[in-house]
């Protein structure tokens, strides 16, 4: 990520495929792990940890959606519904059967993967906008089914209170404790996505995205890999929904409506399609930037407006600034934050001798 190599000296495939090709990459990774696992939780106030927590959950969902949209080139506007499938599966297992999170979490993911694969079946015949409408239908159908099936939704309120996750008898409930819980799964999700993208499966996804007929001709089973892509992507979404459930202590389908699907699409488009780092940056950007803008604007606007007017001014201006920033980032670099980061890196690679 940060390395400045002086040439290519690789002599084996293993070296070429390594996740960390240079010692400096390993050191950078160690520094990042140290930062997130030790420095941040010890130095930040709970409030700032809570913001990072929200971003960590979003990272898992964005990675999943990017696997489908960015790598495989299929579109889904129903990802929020897959999240609710995961959330309700885990909530029901946790409440009715008293199961711990290390069972409910993969179970929620698997159930979402199953439903996702079924929803993905139309992708075998249709593409693009048509597929978008098919997945939109899935979003609405899943919402309706949850809303009208008390056995799933737990009653008229369609919300199920879930106990906090416990680890060796300790309840994880403060933002600091939940931070480590979420960090672990977000890190796992990133690692899995990085490796998946470099594997046979990931390569097949990219081949389908670039030209599905060509992919079929070189021997890729398109049906299998398209459905696999939907399943993997929905698995991530389901896990994201389970994490939300444990983080909030409640599963509620109103938290996973169509607007959330659009938010996640925005994350991966801003971050960069078909890139793991882009998903992470996009999720962090969309989750944190509105908050940062507000923290900047509050003291500034406080100079001009009274306390009562302040909140109205900040609330509306914040949206304008947020929208303007998204547009300008995309104008500067249509391929997203990931590409922007690569440009910056390439610029500094030969700095200060830039020619």
């Amino acid at each position: 990520m940060l390395q400045r190599e002086s040439g290519v000296y690789k002599t084996s495939y293993a070296a070429d495929m390594a996740l960390f090709p240079l010692p400096i990459a390993r050191w950078t990774m160690a520094a990042i792990v140290l930062l997130f696992a030790v420095v941040l939780p010890l130095s930040l106030h709970e409030y700032y940890l809570s913001i990072i927590n929200l971003a960590l959950i979003a990272v898992v969902g964005a990675l999943g959606l990017n696997m489908l949209v960015g790598y495989t080139g299929q579109i889904s506007v129903g990802h929020a519904a897959f999240m609710s499938v995961g959330a309700y599966t885990a909530a029901n297992l946790a409440v009715k059967f008293d199961l711990p999170f290390w069972i409910t979490l993969p179970a929620g993911g698997l159930m979402a993967a199953l439903i996702g694969a079924i929803v993905g079946i139309p992708s075998l015949r249709i593409k693009g906008l048509y597929l978008a409408i098919a997945t939109l239908a899935a979003q609405l159908i899943i919402e309706w089914v949850i809303n009208h099936t008390p056995a799933i939704s737990g009653g008229a309120q369609a919300s199920i209170q879930v106990p906090r996750p416990t680890l060796w008898g300790h309840e994880l409930k403060t933002q600091g404790q939940l931070y480590f819980f979420l960090l672990f799964f977000a890190a796992l999700a990133i690692l899995a996505a990085l490796n998946l993208a470099r594997s046979r499966i990931g390569r097949a996804f990219v081949a389908i995205r670039d030209q599905d007929i060509a992919a079929e001709i070189i021997g890729i089973d398109i049906y299998r890999y398209k459905l696999l892509s939907f399943a993997i992507s929905s698995f991530y979404a389901g896990v994201c929904g389970v994490l939300y459930t444990y983080y909030l202590g409640i599963a509620n389908y109103e938290q996973f409506q169509i607007g959330v699907s659009i938010d996640y699409l925005a994350m991966i488009i801003i971050g960069g399609l078909g890139s793991v780092l882009g998903s992470v940056l996009g999720a962090a950007f969309v989750t944190m930037l509105p908050i940062v803008i507000r923290l900047v604007m509050e003291p500034l606007a406080g100079l001009f407006f009274s306390a009562g007017e302040l909140s109205s001014v900040v609330a509306s201006t914040r949206l304008v600034v947020f929208g303007a920033l998204i547009i300008s980032f995309l104008v500067v670099e249509p391929e997203g934050l990931n590409r922007l980061w690569r440009n910056i890196r390439n610029y500094f690679r030969v700095w200060p001798f830039s020619y």
Binding site: L54, G249, I250, Q255, G308, A315
Partner: protein, 414 residues
């Protein structure tokens, strides 16, 4: 690459600006209230009127010297009717040392219920969240402080009974509702009352986004032909329901709406007060500007050389903001008094909220009585009817079928 430098510079500038954007530490004689609001999201048509009402009342209290000598500082966060920003807002309020918080939105209320309990900070949820939250033993830190959907259902049936001559036996009532958890919640109460009062109940669900209900209304007016229609709709759909019922020739004086279809904005969007003449609405706060406290607010602004707030135009929502603020202030006042003037903790403010009684603010607030068991305050409602170009009071505050509500609350707790 100069463009890139520009961006790096801009990013650095933003980072620098954000750093001192920390928060002033709580002052000695200051109490912090946290307020969730939605000014830019799905329910912004409510928030832009309700939240200014809240702020204006707090300014009024501060201009008169505050609560027992404590100035109030409100930290408001716009959650856009989304859940993650509501979680962030809660943590922010906690960091700022808020003694109480005002929730906004049903999914947000659900998402924060557990957190409020763990952090021991109370949250008020008037018109949001589950009816079961009235039970203070089950939800110790959640305060609906207004009639729940169950109480509104009971209140509307009692009103219908009065309008139909005191006997519902053999009458037909249609319930037209938004097809979401909030819309379905009162069904259990209606079904129970239909049995005990002997009326025939039929329900008509309107799917989201609720702006297309021609089929349901035709079914009501053409086939079912009820004696009364009770509606429970949100957003744009109440105005559509007024228009459709009127268009099919159903008398609006035989229609009563729950609290989120009850504002001047709904009537105006439907075509004005003239058209909606007779439309009945259930309220958990007084309507109009004819209250001493609203006059005090306008005098305060006049003394500053400002006009009366334009948000008072939609007084239904504005006054709800005033009521929420007033109950927050009363809770804080009770807590400060109980401590002999010392700074109260959130826990003590919660006890202050649970001892509110006989506080009516000149008729704006219902005569509620909050106790550790009852966080709803008795489920008081008032009916206001469109008449002579405005909403006019139709009877005093009342509560109805409390034993039925209590039975269902007890069943929920099990």
């Amino acid at each position: 690459m100069s463009k890139l430098k520009l961006w790096l510079g801009a990013a650095a500038a933003v980072a620098l600006l954000a750093l001192p954007g920390g928060n002033p530490s709580a002052q000695e004689k200051e109490l912090v209230f946290g307020l969730h609001c939605d000014r830019t999201g799905a329910t912004q048509t409510v928030g832009v009127f309700l939240c200014p009402g809240y702020h204006d009342y707090i300014s009024l209290v501060n201009s008169k010297g505050g609560v027992e000598g404590y100035k109030i500082r409100v930290v408001e966060i716009d959650n856009e009717y989304k859940v993650p920003p509501a979680m962030e807002a809660h943590e922010r309020f906690k960091m700022e040392g808020a003694v109480l918080t005002g929730l906004y939105g049903t999914p947000q209320t659900a998402a924060l219920t557990k957190k409020l309990e763990e952090d021991k900070v109370l949250g008020t949820s008037p018109g949001f969240g589950t009816a079961a939250a009235a039970d203070g033993r089950r939800f110790p830190y959640l305060f609906p402080i207004a009639a729940s959907y169950w109480s509104q259902a009971a209140g509307s049936v009692a009103f219908v009974k009065k309008e139909l001559g005191g006997n519902l036996n053999g009458k037909k009532i249609a319930y037209l509702y938004y097809d979401n958890p909030a819309g379905k919640e009162p069904l259990v109460i209606f079904e129970d009352l239909a049995k005990s009062e002997g009326f025939e109940l039929r329900t008509f669900a309107v799917p989201a986004p609720g702006i297309e209900m021609g089929a349901q209304v035709l079914d009501i007016t053409g086939r079912f032909k009820p004696d009364f229609v009770i509606t429970h709709l949100f957003g744009r759909s109440p105005s559509v329901s007024i228009k459709e019922l009127k268009g099919k020739g159903y008398p609006l004086s035989k229609v009563i709406s729950f609290v989120w279809g009850a504002s001047e904005a709904d009537v105006k969007a439907a075509g004005g007060f003239e058209l909606a003449n007779g439309y009945n609405t259930i309220q958990f706060a007084g309507v109009g500007t004819d209250f001493p406290v609203i006059k005090d607010i306008n005098e305060m602004f006049a003394a500053q050389g400002k006009a009366a707030p334009s948000q008072q135009e939609i007084s239904v929502f504005y006054n709800r903001g005033v009521v929420i603020a007033a109950l927050h202030v009363e809770a804080a006042r009770n807590a400060v008094k109980a401590k002999g003037g010392a700074r109260p903790t959130p826990e003590e403010v919660k006890r202050g909220m649970e001892s509110i009684k006989g506080f009516t603010l000149g008729g704006l607030v219902p005569p509620m009585e909050l106790t550790p068991e009852d966080h709803e305050g008795g489920g008081w409602v008032q009916v206001w009817t469109v008449k002579d170009g405005k909403l006019t009071k139709n009877g005093d505050w009342f509560q109805a079928y409390r034993e039925v509500i209590r039975k269902h609350l007890a069943a929920e707790t099990k």
